[in-house]
């Protein structure tokens, strides 16, 4: 299958996380947080909020394949992917045919997101959208 992908820039790289990534799922929202220590010693957290999640996967580094190793400054967004197609096929059979679901945008509102944390692993999510929030932390000792 042809995979259509685009990069969404992240405010902080994912490669310098010490305590992250932290995943917290409260249906239907997945929160992925990671820390970053800047050159000024200030620790900042970035929060990735995935809305209307249909599926998510975490691959530990040892289980990542080449396709999971993406740049540290971006989230990849797939409009089409094999995994997305498989999940949507099941979703359509279950609830996707309902009028309310169609009014919400139907299957076209869902996308496949991927973010990679060097040394830690890769998170893949199928969701409607992803919001990126920055949090300025305390200056480190």
């Amino acid at each position: 299958m042809k995979e259509t992908v685009e990069d969404i820039p992240l405010p902080r790289p994912t490669s310098a996380t010490v305590q992250g990534p932290k995943l917290q799922f409260e249906s239907p929202t997945l929160l992925v947080e990671y820390d970053y220590e800047g050159d000024d010693g200030v620790i900042e957290w970035t929060r990735l909020v995935f809305n209307d999640v249909l599926a998510y996967e975490y691959h530990q580094m040892a289980c990542c394949e080449a396709e999971h190793i993406i740049g540290y400054q971006t989230i990849q967004r797939f409009r089409e992917s094999k995994w997305l197609a498989g999940i949507l096929k099941v979703w359509k059979g279950a609830v996707g045919w309902q009028q309310w679901q169609q009014q919400q945008g139907g299957e076209k509102r869902f996308q496949h997101f991927r973010v990679f944390f060097d040394d830690a692993g890769c998170v893949d999510v199928i969701a409607r959208s992803c919001d990126i929030e920055e949090e300025r932390g305390a200056e480190s000792a």
Binding site: S15, A16, T17, I43, A66, I69, Y72, D119, S140
Partner: protein
Amino acid sequence: MAEVRFAQKGISEVFRYGEFAGRTIDEVATGLQAGIIAPSQLPIQVIERGGGLYTLNNRSLMALRLAGVVPTIIRNVTGNPTFEAQLTQRLMEIGREVGEDFVPIIRRARQP
């Protein structure tokens, strides 16, 4: 064999996975020095590129270096697409030539 080089801009001080998960680089290095941990318990994977030999296991190599011992188990994974991609991303992040004297910074976990 050429000396194995580090290939990561920074590394967190705590091992995430494996036999030493949750332990710091310093703790493992101390264990190596004391003979409680054998160098063979820290196998490292390497890739040959541009005449250099780069590791993908920077924390393990750091613990070995701090303890003053050399790796005894070295697995060459040159050509493996996943490991090659990982090395490429790491070298891109460093953004300059990585010589044998390059040493990554160690990131310490801090309480909020």
